[in-house]
Amino acid sequence: MTVHTTSPQFKQNAARALHDPQLQKALNNVKQGFIDKRQAAADKLPEFEALRDSARDIKNHTLEHLDLYLEAYEQKVKASGGHVHFARNADEAREIILSICREAGARTVTKGKSMISEEIGINHYLEANGIKPVETDLGEYIIQLRNELPSHIIAPAVHLNATQVEQDFRRVHTHLDAKRDLSEPVQLLTEARAVLRERFLAADVGITGANFLVAETGTSIIVTNEGNGDLTQILPRTHIVLASIEKLVPTLEDASQLLRVLARSATGQEMSVYTTFSTGPRRSGDADGPENYHVVLIDNGRSAMLGTSFEEMLRCIRCGACMNHCPVYHAVGGHAYGWVYPGPMGAVLTPSLIGVDKAGHLPNASTFCGRCESVCPVRIPLPKLMRHWREREFERHLTPASVRSGLSLWSFFAKRPALYRLATRAAMATLGFAGRRRGRFSWLPLAKGWTKHRDFPAPQGETFQARWQRERKGGTA
């Protein structure tokens, strides 16, 4: 079982989000910042489009040979003194992590930002077992204080404003002077830095995710701007890497290709501040670093996606560009999606992982504008995959009866062009006649969803198809 989902209530979630003034204010930051920065970074690198092709091809090649690269990777990790654990699902992953923590006698665990750790709900599980997990990425720390899920895969607290963070810090950091000034974001950062510095130094185990795993060398790679992931993994005695199986790449060169598109697509940086390549535990004579190095490789639904049309989703490198460019995400934010992964990538991945019966609304929450696909660094055809989910939803009779009969009716006409033209012409004439006086309708049968919010204009003249035909033959209006 994975973390709780509210994806089935997407419509209610979205309605609430649209009427949340704090959230709407915060979402403005997404619209303004990310898009321009990514574009500027792409423009500065003439090879950017070629690198996107290269990134796509590397991921495709790896997925095609995933069994063999996993074996090669496992062998290299072991050779460097690390341990590799395989977990079929979230339950197994949590058990493995807990037993490593117990073996290390852990009381507190620091964590770097990791989406797979959200997916398996490790924090609550550790807490329930008497181990205190501390998120160390600033955004993750803030949402942990609020007991929320991240609302964005690279900017987890993007739904919040500074005043909300200030309130949380005052509520939780009660050991500090109640009269202290926290009016500036930099003061919030400084406070979090000081509080978390203590946690880093006290932790018994550090848990990070992995942006990539390198089969050639048995290396795990993390990418951060804060440096929190590094302090998480070099200070405690035990480092646990959590990674889903599709994080693999063949070589250091392949990783370097992907790193060239990751930061540019995510934040518009030329390169993230800290890109760290870890191979095994501390070597003899080393002055620091973890004594134990564990990798937990998690399937949790991925292997079943291989060989299907959703295999393409496994190329995702979690940069967040798709949600940064999504008008639906801009309008409702990440929490409305109701599970771990929001935005277009979430709309495709979530039904694969928790079932289209629960997450069927997500692939429907799209305008099909195609911006997500146009910026995806590994060229995942996100709109096409959302459409595949809609088809599956329809095939499995999960769509409501009214929608199904409406679609059936439409398809009956759409498959009979002559009848379609006749029917639309008749409908237009009828509507045009009925609305000839006001020129619009404030109420129409079967169109409440439209007329509740705005008038429906009465049609005038001829149908689009009729006009198209006429103009193609050289006539004018």
Partner: protein
């Protein structure tokens, strides 16, 4: 069946393969051995002065500060000056890297201490394995004489890099790593560092010094 075997079997079932096909194994073996470079941007493919200048521009655009000195012997003075200019205490933590050890620290008033950081050090200096001009990135490798904690815990991190070790691209750094550690071998940690620590998590406002160093100062040694 173990989780491992079941996952591998599941992957093979989905891909429609058995896992023992010679041709697939060869393809994988070949890729791991050849490690093709892919697309390497032209930007970094310059040499000499031009490459150093590019490195400098890119490092500065990542909000690091960069200075150049003629010889290793000038590094201690340069660091003393940097600390004084920023009103920082004249203390410095460093590992046992022989290149740093050989520098004339006693010519300065700096109070030097040696070893990894335990979180109390304001200033630290490390020697880079190399630099990458393409993005102004420093490549650090861990080892008995190069503790990784020095790269992250101090408030002010100074990195010394030899001009001759500044490469055009990441791929050149990997080929040097392979030369030093053998094909398929790696130091325990390689840190690529591009600028000082930062966060944009509060209202997408860029703030420096999130958990790692607030300042990153790079000293390029020309000789």
């Amino acid at each position: 069946m173990s989780a491992r075997d079941e996952i591998l079997a599941g992957i093979r079932r989905s891909l429609g393969v058995k896992g023992n096909e010679t041709i697939r194994r060869q393809i994988v073996q070949d890729r791991l051995e050849r490690a093709p470079k892919g697309v390497v941007p032209a930007r970094g493919q310059v040499s000499g002065e031009e490459r150093i200048a590019l490195f400098r521009t890119m490092a500065e655009s990542s909000l690091a500060t960069v200075t150049e000195v003629g010889t290793p012997a000038e590094v201690p003075q340069s660091i003393a000056l940097f600390l004084r200019d920023h009103n920082l205490p004249a203390t410095l933590r460093m590992g046992g890297d022989p290149r740093l050890k050989a520098m004339p620290w006693s010519e300065t008033a700096l109070e030097i201490s040696q070893g990894p950081s335990e979180g109390q050090d304001l200033n630290a200096v490390s020697h880079a394995f190399g630099g990458v001009a393409e993005t102004g990135t420093l490549a650090m490798i861990s080892g008995p004489e190069n503790p990784s904690t020095l790269n992250f815990l101090p408030d002010n991190h100074i990195i010394v890099v030899s001009a001759k070790d500044i490469a055009s691209d990441y791929e050149s750094v990997w080929s040097r790593v392979r030369f030093a550690f053998g094909k398929g071998g790696m130091p325990r940690t390689v840190n690529w560092i591009t600028g000082p620590s930062r966060s944009g998590d509060i209202e997408q406002t860029l703030l420096l010094g999130a958990h790692g160093p607030r300042r990153l100062h790079v000293i390029v040694v020309r000789e």
